[in-house]
């Protein structure tokens, strides 16, 4: 998907460069034809190099997925043989499990708040770093670093220490007269600390935004400047539309990512989702059902529901993309 987003962007500049020139653009020329035998041999080599990945996918992804689908229709408890119970797990989930709905609601809140903040930050910082200046490389690395540490337990532990009662944030705010107490210990703030943790790791989308910004042709800015467009106008009329494929890419990726958020909530709440279930993200509840309540069948069913919801949402985002994602070269 990265690839296609970038080829679209590159393709854009290609076509705009060659649009005035005579003859077809280079990209449209037919691929060089190879002798059939040679091609087949080439394929063999390709499969040889792919084989570790294929083996890995089959053994570690597809196999477990099939197993999990089966287990979602059983009462598997981790230790004894599973019994087939049909759709009971799904029925309980939607019918009688209040915590399931609560976890779904907490996750929805989390996704709705954290994704826009994270993408907004990533875009803002990318715009700042896009200008050539001394030490740009250093700043880029510095902003990217938190993403590398992203899913690690140590960062989440540090986060808990920062935001707990008597922690740095608590004391800092108290010093300027704002007495909120520790954030992670209060139901109304605890989820916000997780949002902050996610937003702080904006490095990965930022790097992708930066790459996208580099692809925006300078001529467009020059043309816009000649037409008298100011900074804001240029951002709205040139940067955003040209960047929209990259925004779509980042939006899809970060949304999927946010639905799967687990480590932060797990560590900050010691695996409980507290205080008062305020950080009970869906994956955390899934984990609890599987590993502390020994209801692995139920947990498998929850995983499939999550997969379905994420798939539907992604499809919806893609469908909406027709309205707002602009690929240069399209006629509108």
């Amino acid at each position: 998907m990265t690839r296609s987003a970038f080829t679209d962007a590159t393709g854009t500049s290609d076509t705009s460069d060659t649009s005035g020139a005579a003859g077809p653009p280079v990209r449209d020329s037919p691929p060089p034809t190879a002798a059939p035998g040679r091609r087949r041999r080439g394929q063999g080599v390709a499969y040889l190099f792919l084989s570790p990945w294929i083996a890995g996918a089959a053994l570690l992804t597809i196999g477990p997925m099939v197993a999990s689908l089966y287990l979602s229709f059983t009462d598997y408890d981790l230790f004894s043989a599973p019994n087939w119970i049909g759709v009971d797990n799904y029925a309980t989930m939607f019918g009688g499990d209040e915590r399931f709905w609560h976890a779904a609601w907490v996750t929805t809140k989390y996704v709705l708040i954290s994704v826009p903040i994270k993408l907004g930050l990533a875009l803002a910082v990318a715009l700042l770093l896009n200008r050539p200046r001394r030490g740009a490389g250093l700043y880029r690395s510095a902003f990217y670093a938190p993403s590398l540490l992203g899913a690690s337990v140590s960062v989440a532990l540090a986060w808990r220490a920062l935001f707990s009662t008597g922690g740095t944030v608590d004391e800092g705010l108290a010093a300027v007269g704002i007495d909120t107490g520790g954030w992670v210990d209060q139901p109304q703030y605890a989820l916000l600390t997780l949002v902050a943790l996610a937003a702080w790791q904006f490095g990965a989308p930022m790097v992708i935004f930066l790459a996208g910004l580099k692809q925006v042709p300078k001529e467009l800015y020059e043309a816009a400047a000649i037409d008298g467009a100011g900074q804001g106008r240029r951002f709205l009329s040139v940067t955003l539309p040209m960047l929209s494929p990259v925004i779509l890419f980042n939006l899809v990726l970060e949304t999927i990512h946010a639905f799967q958020a687990f480590t932060g909530a797990f560590v900050v709440s010691s695996g409980r989702g507290g205080p008062s279930d305020s950080t009970l993200l869906y994956p955390l509840y899934l984990y609890q059902r599987g590993f502390t309540d020994f209801r692995m069948g139920y947990a498998s069913a929850m995983a499939w529901v999550l997969l379905a919801v994420v798939a539907v949402l992604t499809a919806l985002v893609f469908r909406s993309a027709r309205r707002w994602v602009f690929y240069a070269g399209e006629n509108r």
């Binding site: 690839r3 210990d185 209060q186 890419f249 409980r272 008062s276 502390t292």
Partner: protein, 429 residues
């Protein structure tokens, strides 16, 4: 998708490496004749780890044919790892359990029946019958108590004195719930710290209160032994203390997990705490020697307190070295040297002979525990019996619902109803 494919090779590498590690791990130690390797796991603090390692070393010295690998962690992390390992077939041979998990694991056929070993390789004749009872599920001995413990209030005498409060300590001295409430509120009003850590979160202390009212947490058939009204009454009682800072604030209480490092006393937020005397050595290690023990309050003749196995040891059903594991278990329970080394790190030793010897020479935290057990001897009732399958979910839901109570998200009556409903569901499965 881009992210996934970028992670692919690295993820695969990690999986392969761990797969290789698992495979090589399976290769060693299973052979019948050669040296046997046992895995022994427990949870606890460093204080407990140090003495347990020392006892295992003593075992190794006496049994050169048996190698023992040990592993320990905090309570939550312990069970997270354990269930995954057992499910994956890489479980330990000898493992530590508590009351909620014995029923859970025995009910799901994770624990071996120790019956065939009793009296032979595993001597239990010096262990009181009521302690042994705690390791029985469905009439079979699935685990043996690693110690004996009793509920207690541990407190900081200097803070009690500063507020002009005295706790009963001599044999026969008691206090009522009204006296206790008044004392805690007085400490809270004195300003420095709250009177006691809010103890409404743990179902264990509710169990004591139930026994004071001739009720119990679970019936012998594994059903719920109390009603929503009982629980509401109990939580209301604690609520009267919360208003006057007699118990800790919600933000403090929500962090409680029974571990010493998170305890209100150790973090300097409360002057006392309800707990099991098996963790007293841990408190002394983390806080210092300025600590004393008092019995829990009761309005009835019955103190509600019981001699319980704080933790028990069980042997895994899937262990390939059950004989060696039982040998280690017997050593930990009955060997005088092991008893000496272990001290009161899991409550007082379960073996009465070992206990007498350990208590005679005890110092510090171990001495405090021995003294307390002697002082309360006449008021400590028989053991409560093992908790049924599903009880670990009940224990967790109890705490979660109490969070809602202390943060004022639900009324006590509704919360109590929810606990009972959730529990009925968990016990049914």
């Amino acid at each position: 998708m881009g992210r996934v494919s970028r992670r692919g090779p690295a993820g695969l590498l990690v999986s392969l490496v761990s797969l290789a590690a698992v495979l090589s791990g399976c290769g060693g130690g299973d052979s019948g004749d050669g040296p046997v390797t046992l895995r022994f796991v427990w949870w606890g603090n460093e204080d407990r780890a140090k003495v347990t390692e020392a006892a295992v070393d003593a075992f190794r010295a006496k049994n050169p044919g048996i190698e023992v690998e040990t592993e320990y962690s905090g309570y939550d992390a312990y069970f997270q790892k354990l269930s995954t390992q057992v499910a994956g077939g890489a479980g330990p041979d000898l493992l530590q359990l508590d009351r909620a998990t014995i029923g859970e694991y025995a009910g799901r056929n994770v624990l071996a029946d120790l019956g065939p070993y009793l009296g032979g390789a595993l001597k239990v004749d010096k262990i009181p019958a009521n302690l042994l009872e705690g390791g029985k599920v469905d009439g079979r001995q699935h685990a043996v108590a690693a110690g004996a413990t009793t509920q207690m209030l541990i407190y900081v005498p200097s803070q009690f004195r500063a507020a002009g409060v005295t706790a009963p300590s001599a044999p026969g001295e008691t206090w009522t719930w009204a006296q206790f409430t008044e004392a805690m509120n007085r400490i809270g009003a004195a300003g420095a710290v709250a009177g006691t850590t809010d103890f409404g979160w743990a179902i264990d202390w509710f169990e004591v209160w139930l026994h004071q009212h001739d009720k119990s947490l679970y019936t012998p058939d594994g059903e719920l032994g109390f009603t929503a009204d009982d629980l509401a009454e109990y939580w209301e009682l604690i609520g009267t203390m919360r208003a006057g800072r007699g118990v800790s604030a919600a933000e403090v209480t929500t962090k409680m997990d029974g571990s010493v490092q998170n305890s209100g006393i150790v973090t300097g937020q409360t002057a006392s705490e309800v707990g099991y005397d098996s963790s007293v050595t841990g408190y002394f290690g983390a806080f210092g020697p300025d600590l004393a023990l008092a019995p829990l309050p009761s309005d009835a003749e019955e103190s509600g307190m019981a001699a319980l196995p704080p933790v028990s040891f069980g042997v895994a059903q899937r262990s390939k070295n059950k004989d060696a594991a039982v040998k280690l278990l017997d050593f930990l329970l009955n060997d005088p040297e092991a008893g000496e080394l272990l001290g009161a790190s899991r409550g007082v030793p379960p073996n009465e002979e070992v206990r007498a010897r350990v208590c005679a020479g005890a110092t510090g935290g171990s001495k405090a525990v021995c003294d307390y057990e002697v002082a309360q001897q006449d008021r400590i009732g028989p053991a409560f019996g093992a908790w049924p399958t599903g009880s670990s979910a009940v224990k967790r839901d109890f705490q979660r619902t109490y969070d809602d109570v202390i943060f004022d998200r639900v009324s006590v009556a509704d919360a109590a109803k929810r606990v009972v409903q959730d529990a009925e569901q968990s016990l049914g499965s």
